[in-house]
Symmetry: C2
Subunit: 132 residues, 2 copies
C-alpha cells in the first residue's frame, strides 16, 4: 500500500502546475506562474519542491535544473529514476523499464558501497528531431 500524502496548499498549487506542464519547469518559472495564487517568494517554491521530490510526486532533472511530475503513479521508485532527454527539443520523459531498474537497483561493485538510490539521464535525439 502506498503511503498517502495530503499535500498542503502551496504544495498542491505547485504540484498541479508541474503536473499539467508538458515540459519540465524551472523554479523561477514556477514562481512567476503562481504569484497570482499568493506565492511570492523563491523559498516558498523551493520548500514545496523539496517536499514533492521527497515524497516522489515530482523529480528533479539535474542536468536541467528543472522539475517534472512523476509518470509512474507517484513513483514507488523515486529513489531509482531514469529519464530520456532530447538535446534538440529538450523533451524529457521518465523511463519506466523494469529490466533497467532491476539492473541498476541491484548494481554493486567492488567499492564496498551500498547504493540506495540512483539517477540516470540519457541524452540523444527524439524520433521527431532525428527525422529533421
Amino acid at each position: 500500500m502506498e503511503k498517502q500524502h495530503n499535500l498542503s496548499k502551496n504544495q498542491k498549487i505547485i504540484f498541479d502546475l508541474i503536473d499539467k506542464s508538458p515540459e519540465p519547469l524551472k523554479a523561477y518559472s514556477i514562481l512567476f506562474n503562481v504569484q497570482k495564487k499568493g506565492i511570492n517568494a523563491p523559498l516558498q517554491v523551493y520548500r514545496a519542491l523539496d517536499k514533492l521530490v521527497e515524497i516522489g510526486k515530482i523529480h528533479k532533472i539535474e542536468s536541467r535544473n528543472a522539475f517534472i511530475a512523476c509518470q509512474n503513479s507517484s513513483c514507488q521508485i523515486s529513489k531509482a529514476t531514469a529519464f530520456s532527454i532530447c538535446e534538440s527539443c529538450e523533451k524529457v520523459s521518465e523511463i519506466s523499464n523494469t529490466k533497467l531498474s532491476k539492473y541498476l537497483s541491484n548494481f554493486a561493485d567492488e567499492s564496498g558501497m551500498k547504493y540506495s538510490k540512483y539517477n540516470l539521464e540519457f541524452f540523444g535525439l527524439c524520433k521527431k528531431c532525428k527525422s529533421k
Copy 2:
C-alpha cells in the same frame, strides 16, 4: 588512437587544480584558488570548465554542481559516465565497470529515441561511513 588536446594556459591551470583535488571542486572554489595565477573572473573559469568537459578531461557531477578529473585515462567514455556519491561524507568516485557501461550504452527502449550519451549517479554510504 586518442586525440591529443593541447590545453591552453587557463585550461591547464584549472585542470591541474581539479586533478590534484581529492574531491570534486565547485566553480567558485576553483576561481578563488586560481586568482593568484591571474584568473580573475567567473567566466574564465567556466570557459575552461566547458572545454575540459567537452574533451573529457573532467566531468561535472550534476547533483553537486562540481567537477572531478576523469579517472579513466582521459575518458574515452565522456559520453558514458557513472559516479558513486556518498551522501554522508560526499566522497565521489568515477565508476569504471565494463558491464555497466556496455549495458547502458546499448540500452534502447520503445520510445524510438537514439541515445548517444548518459550520466548516472549512484547514491549511498561509503564503506567508511557505513561502519560509523
